[in-house]
């Protein structure tokens, strides 16, 4: 797997950028699903539906973010996906850090790396 950091085709770069902008609301919902699991785990009341939703959200981000150039976000999301399958209250701190890191990697630039110049 070698996610796009600099798509060679300007039309492809522009298309990826446009698709990312449309995908943004979906990605936000997925981040919120992970954040909800973080909050419930910190409070010691993580419910299974919340955990499962966080796992599904992390899986989706892991499988898609790198396609838009967010290689590190995909890696962090895969860590979250693995972690939420074995969660205990002791994992609250680790999950919190990963969720913050994921949000930072996905939202810091506001657009896909490498696509900015292609529009």
């Amino acid at each position: 797997m070698a996610p796009v950091s600099n798509p060679p085709d300007p039309k492809l770069a522009a298309a990826i950028h446009a698709i990312w902008e449309r995908a943004f609301s979906t990605v936000h919902r997925e981040l919120e699903a992970i954040d909800k699991a973080v909050v419930e785990l910190q409070r010691g009341c993580l419910e299974e539906p919340t955990r499962a939703a966080a796992e599904a959200a992390a899986h989706k981000i892991a499988g898609s973010a790198g396609t838009f150039g967010f290689t590190e976000a995909s890696r962090v999301a895969r860590e979250i996906e693995d972690l939420v399958q074995v969660l205990t209250p002791e994992h609250a701190s680790a999950l919190t850090e990963l969720a913050v890191s994921l949000r930072m990697h996905l939202l810091a630039s506001g657009g896909p790396p490498g696509a900015e110049g292609g529009t």
Binding site: M1, L12, I16, T26, S64, A65, T67
Partner: protein
């Protein structure tokens, strides 16, 4: 390599859009799409594509179940199928290959080279 007819079955809108755009722009393939396993089976019967790209994790009818339905239907049984999956573990890839798929492409994929990965697995001239 231009002009290949491919069916992409993927439930996530933005992943489906990127893959379709990538194959159309980078390889000039004719890419039909379906957003679910059921729709994919219908489209495969209708279009008889040269190859199917099939997502693994989908609601309702998932990739492996869709695969079995396509294999059981004489009109689609011989169409080569490549799985797309975000499950990166070797055991997952082996399980999918053992079903009889042509191969497995791990998500996230690179939109600039997706067509090359498919062509390599399908042994299409590049």
């Amino acid at each position: 390599m231009a002009g290949r007819r491919v069916l992409l079955i993927e439930d996530e809108d933005h992943v489906r859009e990127v893959a379709q755009m990538s194959l159309e722009l980078m390889a000039d393939w004719d890419v039909a799409v379906a957003a679910s396993g059921e729709e994919g089976i219908h489209r495969a019967r209708e279009l008889r594509p040269e190859l199917i790209l099939l997502d693994v994790m989908m609601p309702d009818l998932d990739g492996p179940a869709t695969f079995e339905r396509l294999r059981a239907d004489p009109t689609t049984a011989s169409i080569p199928i490549i799985f797309l999956t975000a499950k990166a573990r070797p055991a997952d890839r082996v399980r999918l290959t053992e079903l009889g798929a042509l191969g497995v492409i791990t998500k996230p994929f690179d939109p600039a080279t997706l067509h090359l990965d498919i062509a390599r697995l399908a042994e299409w001239p590049q």
